[in-house]
C-alpha cells in the first residue's frame, strides 16, 4: 500500500515536468505548411542572383591570388585556415582545378556561373536541394576567401542558405514538385525548421538591440546621425538630415526597443504584425537610405519566411497529400 502511494506521488511530481516537456516538444515540432519554405527559397534565390550580379564586374578582382587582385585571396584564406583548415574556401577549388590543368581565372568564372545558376534554380524551384547546397558552398567559399572584405549581410546569407539546405525541400510551389510530383514533407519537420529560423531571428534582434542599448549614442540620436552620414552609407544629404535632428533620438530609442523586445512581441498574436511591420520598415529604410540593399533584402526575406506567413496551426491551410515520414 505504501509503495502504491509513493508511486502515485511520484507520478504527480513527474506530471508537471512531463507536461513541460510535452509543451517544449510541441513548440519545437509544430505542424506547419511549406508556404514559409517557398518564401525562403524564392527570397534566397533572388538574394543569391543579385549577390552574383552585383559582384560580377569585381568577382575576379576580389578573389584573385597575390599580385592580380585588390588584396590577395591567400591572406583571407590563411586567416580562415588558422581557425580551421576544414572551412571551405576558393583555394580548394583552385587547387583541384590546377590538378586538372584549369586556370585560376576559369575556376573563379565557373564558381560565379555556378552561384548565379543556383540562384536562378532556387527562384524556379528546380533541383531545389542541389541548388541550395551549391549556393551555400560557393557563397561560403566567397565569404571565407574574401573574409577581410565580408560584412554582416554575408553572415546572414550563409545562415539562411544553411537552413534552406537542411530544410525539407522541395516545397509544393517548386518546379521539382510540379514535374516530379515529389511527396510533400512531414508538417512537423517543416514546423521544426521554421522554429529554428524563428528562434535564430530572436537571438539576432535581442543581441543587436541589447548591444545598441549599451551605447550612449543610440539614446541621444548621435549614432543614427553618424550611421547615416558615414561614408559609404551617406545616401541622404546631411543638409536634409539635420532638419530632422530632433527626431533622431526618438528613432534611435525606437530601434533599440524594437530590437530588444522582438523576442517577446513577435510571438504574441496581438503585436506580431505590428512588430513585423516595424522591423520590415526598418530594414527597407536601411536598404534605401544607406545603400545596404543585400543586407536589407536578406533580413526582409528571413523575417517574412519566419513570421510573415501564417502558420498552419493558426488556421492557414495544411499540407495536403501523402506525407514523407
Amino acid at each position: 500500500m505504501s509503495s502504491l502511494t509513493s508511486c502515485a506521488e511520484g507520478n504527480l511530481k513527474l506530471n508537471p515536468l512531463h507536461r513541460a516537456w510535452q509543451h517544449f516538444v510541441s513548440f519545437l515540432f509544430p505542424s506547419d505548411s511549406d508556404t514559409w519554405l517557398t518564401v525562403l527559397r524564392i527570397g534566397l534565390g533572388l538574394q543569391v542572383t543579385l549577390y552574383a550580379l552585383f559582384l560580377r564586374s569585381d568577382w575576379h578582382y576580389l578573389f584573385a591570388s597575390s599580385g592580380k587582385g585588390l588584396v590577395a585571396r591567400e591572406v583571407g584564406e590563411a586567416i580562415t585556415s588558422f581557425e580551421s583548415p576544414l572551412i571551405p574556401k576558393f583555394g580548394w577549388l583552385i587547387a583541384a582545378g590546377r590538378a586538372l590543368n584549369i586556370s585560376e581565372e576559369t575556376v573563379l568564372t565557373v564558381a560565379w556561373v555556378g552561384l548565379l545558376s543556383a540562384g536562378f534554380l532556387l527562384l524556379l524551384g528546380f533541383l531545389s536541394r542541389p541548388a541550395a547546397i551549391v549556393a551555400w558552398f560557393v557563397h561560403l567559399c566567397a565569404s571565407e576567401s574574401g573574409g577581410l572584405l565580408a560584412y554582416g549581410a554575408d553572415n546572414f546569407m550563409t545562415t539562411a542558405l544553411f537552413y534552406l539546405m537542411l530544410s525539407p525541400l522541395p516545397d509544393r510551389y517548386s518546379f521539382d514538385h510540379w514535374v516530379a510530383k515529389t511527396k510533400l514533407k512531414n508538417p512537423k519537420t517543416l514546423g521544426f525548421w521554421r522554429r529554428v529560423l524563428q528562434v535564430h531571428l530572436c537571438f539576432v534582434y535581442f543581441i543587436g538591440g541589447l548591444a545598441k542599448s549599451l551605447g550612449s549614442g543610440w539614446w541621444d540620436g548621435s549614432n543614427l546621425w553618424r550611421s547615416l552620414i558615414r561614408p559609404p552609407f551617406n545616401l541622404v544629404s546631411p543638409e536634409l538630415l539635420v532638419q530632422f535632428k530632433y527626431v533622431l533620438p526618438l528613432v534611435g530609442i525606437s530601434i533599440c526597443l524594437l530590437e530588444v523586445r522582438y523576442p517577446l512581441f513577435i510571438w504574441l498574436k496581438r503585436t506580431r504584425w505590428i512588430w513585423l511591420g516595424c522591423v520590415l520598415v526598418m530594414h527597407a529604410a536601411i536598404g534605401l537610405m544607406m545603400g545596404l540593399y543585400l543586407f536589407a533584402l536578406i533580413m526582409i526575406v528571413m523575417n517574412i519566411a519566419a513570421f510573415g506567413v501564417p502558420s498552419a496551426s493558426s488556421g492557414a491551410e495544411m499540407v495536403s497529400g501523402p506525407h514523407q515520414r
Binding site: Y61, G69, I229, P238
Partner: protein
Amino acid sequence: MHFFLLTAVCLGGVFWLIAQGSTILPSACNEYAHKAELAATWCLGKTASASNPLRRSIATYLHAAGIQAGYSFFAPNVPSHHQLTLALFYDDGRVEYETPHVRSKAAALRLDSLLDKLPEQRYESVREALVKMLVLSVWREHPDVKKVRATFEAVHLPSATEFEQGKGETLEPMFSFDFSLRKEKQE
C-alpha cells in the same frame, strides 16, 4: 547544441564590448564582463590549442552556419570611418593622389569594410602586408610611379549641431607607409 553555440558567440560579443569599457555601464562591470567573455570563449573551444580537433570542429561548424560572429552591428556606438590615401610620386616631381578602388558599389562596400578592419589589433600582424597589396592594386594602373606614400586616417564626423555650425569632418592620421620599387620603409 546549435543554439548553445550561438548563445556563446552572441554573449561573448556583448561581454567583449562591456570589457572594452565602450558601453554606458560602470567600469566596475568591465572585469566581470572580461571573465564572462573568457567563459564564452572557453565554451567555443578557443582556449584549446589551435590544432585541437574539438576547437577546429566547432570553428568549422560556426563558419558553415554563418554564426561565427555576433550581431552587435553599429554597437554600442557607430565606429569611425577610415580612409587610405595614396600619394603617387613620379620621377619628374609630380605628385598625384589616389585611393584604392573597385568598379561596383557592392564591392566598394566591401573595400570600406576592409579599411575599417585594418586598425583592429587582431589584424596588426598583416596590416602592412594588406596596405602593400592595396598600394600594388593602384600601382599596376600607374606603372611609371617611383614611390608611393600610403597614409591611413580615421575620419571623425561632426555631430548634427557641429554640422549646423559649419564644422566638417576631421582626419586623424593613424599610420603611414612608404613603398618604392627597391625598398620599403615604415614611418
